[in-house]
Symmetry: C2
Subunit: 302 residues, 2 copies
């Protein structure tokens, strides 16, 4: 059992969390949320992608958002990049850190990006070089690492092939995303052991979904394999728009609670974070799936 002293959270609510939500969040509320998250102690956050605003209307205000946020020196603000056009927009916005993800599943790659895996990887490697030339920090990651809704099981060899290709470009970090929420903790532990052999000293981050209630079990497995960087989303927002009622990303407040109970430092004030989450529930007009948000201050006689 390996227990780190501290872990790092990459808060993704403003990108993965809300990207598919029908409620378009006013830019004012997004700016406020970015500032509130930093005030809670969040030191890294992905706040937009740069995509076609007709396809993802929630991200249409990316330029305005990047212009209006007050950038704190000790916070890493990041964006997800899906195309060269998106990268160019990010460069114009002086985005300091970007993520690139390539699917490990052929069917998903074609449906998601209209590129084969090989084409998508070639393009990603070229864009990673361009981003580095622009002075950006880079995370290179694998989508559908733990399974694909179309193809089912994803071969470990496909994941390792991606990681090896990325490593040649010397990214700041390798990311593994459980895009479909299909990971289980045995698989997470076994795969992470193999990936670590390839990544060596390059930091590894993981992005788990909680679609089948295995998000925090996978976190525990990853913690034990030495992973210390975790994507999570305020309220547990996000997830798959094609499954009614499906839960989304692991919830930042549940993750924080778990870490603090295990005496692992996060640098984040949980109670303050919960207040931010409750405030954002009002903006979104919904109750979020996170567990501890509504429990924390409740008295319980059980």
């Amino acid at each position: 059992m390996y227990i780190p002293e501290s872990v790092e959270i990459n808060e993704v609510v403003l990108r993965d969390g809300i990207q598919n939500d029908k409620k378009i969040v006013p830019t004012d509320d997004k700016v406020r949320l970015v500032h509130d998250l930093a005030a809670c102690g969040i030191r890294r956050m992905e706040i937009s992608s740069f995509v076609n605003k007709k396809l993802v209307p929630q991200m249409a205000d990316a330029e305005e958002l990047w212009e209006r946020i007050e950038r704190k020196k000790d916070v890493i603000y990041s964006a997800l990049i899906l195309s060269e056009k998106g990268l160019d927009r990010a460069i114009r916005c002086r985005v300091p850190h970007v993520s690139f993800f390539v699917s490990a599943s052929e069917t998903h790659s074609i449906k998601n990006s209209n590129k084969t895996v090989e084409e998508a990887m070639k393009e990603a490697l070229r864009l990673i070089g361009k981003a580095r030339d622009a002075g950006m920090g880079v995370r290179a990651g694998v989508m559908n690492t733990f399974g694909c809704a179309y193809d089912g099981k994803v071969p470990v060899s496909a994941v390792l092939k991606h990681v090896r290709a990325f490593m040649e470009r010397e990214p700041d970090e390798i990311g593994l995303a459980d895009t479909t929420g299909m990971a289980n903790p045995r698989q997470s532990a076994e795969l992470l052991k193999l990936v670590k052999d390839v990544t060596g000293d390059t930091p590894l981050s993981v992005h788990f979904h909680n679609t089948r209630d295995l998000g925090l079990a996978n976190v525990w497995a990853a913690i034990n394999e030495g992973v210390t960087i975790f994507d999570s989303s305020l309220g547990g927002l996000g997830g798959c728009p094609f499954i009614p009622g499906a839960k989304g990303n692991i919830a930042t407040e549940d993750f924080l609670h778990m870490m603090h109970e295990m005496d692992i430092l996060t640098g984040v004030d949980l109670n303050r974070f919960i207040d931010v989450s409750l405030g954002f529930e009002k903006v979104m007009g919904q109750t979020f799936p996170a567990f501890v948000t509504h429990l924390q201050k409740a008295a319980c006689g059980c």
Copy 2:
């Protein structure tokens, strides 16, 4: 990482799952559920307690239920015992297996049973002897093992003291219950190592709640410590009636899904179990908190 070939489920929906629900389940539906669960492959289930029907009206039909169920030879049917009067009723019903639980928290013990921990333990040990004399299988367990809503942290020494006292009566099994859903996987792993030193070859079972979304993370920690007997509740029913919206026990279908994905055998047909769960949702007039119930047959394009 330790992975067992198989695990055993103790299905508790008919006791812990529904005991505090306002909807009183007709005995006909309870009988049908007992039979349906056995038909799915469930080989152990707790189907009632024997308590004051004014205090727990859901359990008022315990005698009729035990009379009406068809007992399969390869299924263990069990009841929770809270008093000598309850034990005498169980003996008259020819209940073959019983559980006794004593709280590790002084405040909870007094509020829950109107006895100090010492008084409750003395009584439990006497009743365990009586149950064994009546030829019953016995599980002796600790409540509030991982934390108390009143007293907060529960000392490990209090848990170990209970386990040692129980072991002198040679129960068939020792159980550890996370009554309040306060366990975390680090704590589960650390405590289980210590408890195993006391229990030796006597089987250990765990009963986790999912109040803070850590149920299956605790399961993964317990699996790795060699535990192979798990309480779970169809649909994730149960939990604390004093926290609005609090999730209950770990959901049997989510637990089954997790095990099967990790190639651990349960002997239970998950798809058939989900059909039973969906049928029981109609009886209860509610959607259960379990995650995979409504996902299993859904197509997902994420």
